[in-house]
């Protein structure tokens, strides 16, 4: 009797563990089954490299959105990575304990704030600021990049800080013993040693930035055309889906699902890179 119960529960636990595998498989199947035939129907090159998105004329080229996603992500890296990295180094090696007690929860809170709040903040503060000081409508690639840079900070900081803390202290002490100052020891021994972990954090941040939807939608302007410049509006793959899904039908709807497939492939590549880098950290 007891043995039977043990056996049953063993299978229940195993089934629960396999649920995540089944879910990933299902997500893949549903997206690809709906998206891939559409890409075939529109034509792979017409879809991926088409410069025009005109659902009314049945022209579905998502190159503007792909470029839009890549540009705002690069912008987010340029603004977010240096600040995030320096903050992580600060927290791991420079921070006075008293300040750390405030800074650590602050970073955790930054990670917890919903993206719609970030978007709202961007909408009421950053958009008017950029409109008044730099010109344009304010809803622009620059605004989206800055906001995303802010949003990926906590991801980069927490992963990089953990990586920096995992470096054995003997590296640092060795550098000190050779006559280097604190700053030099940290930047030339600890930071290079934590390279893989730091890269993993940056990759994770890139994944967040490229997948972010609600914050971008509120500040990016969302014009479906080739990106024109820093102060002009852009539309990303994520926002393309949210904006048009509400009223899309037939091929238009399928084209949006196909956009999600392209986005999903981007994310899968980013995730695999992250897993690979994480594996390297564990090996070290």
């Amino acid at each position: 009797m007891n043995k039977g119960k043990e056996k049953i529960m063993h299978w229940v636990f195993l089934a629960a563990a396999c649920a995540s595998v089944a879910l990933v498989a299902m997500i893949c199947v549903f997206l690809f089954a709906n998206g891939l035939p559409t890409i075939g129907k529109i034509g792979v090159t017409d879809f991926l490299l088409g410069e025009k998105w005109r659902p009314n004329n049945d022209i579905y080229g998502i190159l503007p959105m792909i470029l839009g996603s890549i540009y705002v992500t690069i912008g987010a890296i340029i603004t977010g990575v240096p600040i995030g990295l320096f903050t992580a180094i600060f927290m791991a090696r420079f921070c006075p304990p008293l300040f750390y007690r405030f800074l650590k929860p602050a970073v955790e809170l930054l990670a917890g704030i919903p993206s719609v709040i970030y978007g709202f903040f961007g909408l009421v503060i950053m958009v008017p600021f950029i409109r008044d000081n730099l010109g344009g409508t304010g809803s622009s690639m620059l605004t989206a990049s800055l906001l995303l840079g802010m949003m990926i900070l906590p991801t980069i900081i927490s992963v990089a800080e953990a990586a920096l803390r995992a470096v054995p202290n003997s590296y640092y002490e060795g550098a000190l013993a050779l006559g280097a100052g604190h700053v030099r020891s940290v930047f030339f021994t600890i930071v290079p040693a934590a390279k893989s972990g730091i890269m993993a954090g940056i990759i994770l941040g890139i994944g967040r930035a490229i997948g972010e939807t609600m914050a971008v939608i509120m500040v990016a302007g969302n014009q479906a055309r080739m990106p024109q410049g820093l102060l002009e509006g852009v539309r990303t793959m994520t926002t393309n889906i949210v904006i048009e899904m509400g009223y899309a039908a037939d091929l238009h709807r399928d084209a949006l699902i196909a956009t999600a497939v392209v986005l999903f492939i981007f994310i899968l590549i980013i995730n695999l890179t992250f897993s690979y880098l994480k594996g390297r950290v564990v090996q070290q």
Partner: protein
Amino acid sequence: MNNFSARLRKTLYSYGTEPSAILLLFCVWGSAIATFLTLAFLLLYILWQGLPHITPALFALEYNTTNVSLFPALVDTVIMVIMALAMATPLGIFAAIYLVEYAKRGNKIVNVVRVTADTLSGIPSIVYGLFGMLFFVTYLKMGYSLLAGSCTVAIMVLPLIMRTTEEALKAIPDSYREGSYGLGAGKLRTVFAIVLPSAIPGILAGIILSIGRIVGETAALIYTSGTVAALPANVFSSGRTLAVHMYVLASEGLFMQQAYATAVILVVIVICINAASGYLARRLMKGN
């Protein structure tokens, strides 16, 4: 005071006197302060703008264009959190139990599950939203409903619950299990009577973080749970959560005061959630 400045000079000297060291020192301090001020500015601005607009009318039972009540959204959020957790928590905990307690070393399934869980946690919420729309709303014919929305977010928080439970279970010393076996308990009994109760703070911290994710979720819910702003009749009716409500208000631009007020409510919820999970995590650290 003199003593302090002497100590400061000594610290700075030990940091290195070359110009690059001073520049880097400036960078790390500047970045840390910038990060801190970003958060402080964001929170203070939203609280300062929003607090005056929190009025009793916001909590009226019914939503209409004169009161723009957020009460239905609040109810929807609570229902959404409860339903999603009811689905994700048992699944996540059971999966973690298998990974930590049952799977043998070098088991291939464990690796596959880890990789897929990582994949799940990296998928953007809009992709979840689209999947939820295709699968729950259309294929399973749930329509735009709280049920479809909660199924979608349940999948979203599953990897988070799994991962935190796994960490919590791993932190339980093996001597607990050995003691239990030594007293004649079976595997199942050991897991439920000894291991799980000791891991509760860690598991709770994960669940609380999941609540935060669900409360803040927007993109995955717009096309699964819909944007109806009335009190839901049952789980098959459509409803907007607070975050969706906030998005709709802000993007329409007609009710900015109410949007600020909703933002305040969301921010306060998030702060409470973070404080609670931080408290539990600290208790866990002390316990070990």
